[in-house]
Symmetry: C2
């Protein structure tokens, strides 16, 4: 599990430092898709990387803090479910990776805003993933 969590950390490190080259290396060459908060689905490496190029150079982009990571790995594919804090906005996030030539490469990212009405009526914590580490 450790190395997929390291790959997940690499994603947020590349994101927070605006490092497009590392982001580009992390994403797999094929079978990729991405849903940014509020966005339609992007399919294919070109569309996905283009979106990151724009996001990483956007000075208004909120800093993302990741927490509550839970890794689910089966064979060569695995995902990390986590909560992103984009400023004050919590996002329910899934980052999917595939082990290609021994390296975890990203094949899917989807971050969904957690609605305040859900937070009000049902506390966030009981539904949040349990920390494994």
């Amino acid at each position: 599990m450790d190395d997929i969590l390291a790959a997940n950390a690499l994603y947020y490190s590349a994101f927070s430092s605006g490092d497009f080259a590392r982001m580009s290396e992390l994403w797999a060459d094929e079978d990729v898709s991405c849903v940014h908060p509020g966005w339609p689905i992007l399919i294919g490496r070109q569309a996905v990387l283009e979106s990151y190029k724009n996001i990483l150079r956007n000075p208004m982009q909120e800093t993302i803090v990741v927490r509550e990571e839970v890794a689910i790995v089966s064979a060569r594919d695995g995902r990390v479910c986590c909560v992103e804090m984009a400023g004050d906005m919590p996002l329910a996030t899934t980052n999917w990776f595939r082990r290609i030539h021994g390296i975890w490469r990203m094949i899917h990212h989807q971050a969904s805003p957690i609605a305040s009405m859900v937070q009000d009526s049902e506390p966030l914590r009981p539904h949040s993933p349990i920390k494994l580490n």
Copy 2:
């Protein structure tokens, strides 16, 4: 690709008919996670199925119409990216399946509201997946 699209259609058929037994059969026994629109991440079969039990018997639940399905399959795992229309609300949705004993079982569902500001500034269609069939 056809059979994973059939599994995806089965999901929406079970959903729209409120058929919890079929929904329960479709979901895999392990490695499952789910993000309903606005919800935190649910991890594990029990939490996910409990959520569907509540959603399927909710008389206020919007009818879901699915469109623009794109299947991405690699080895025993595959996903269908699609757009759900929950009433007037478009949702960018990823349904992940695993072929277990020859049957596509669901391991992840995530539906994210597509923000109206994105729709207004950037038309939905160009960013939406291209229909393969």
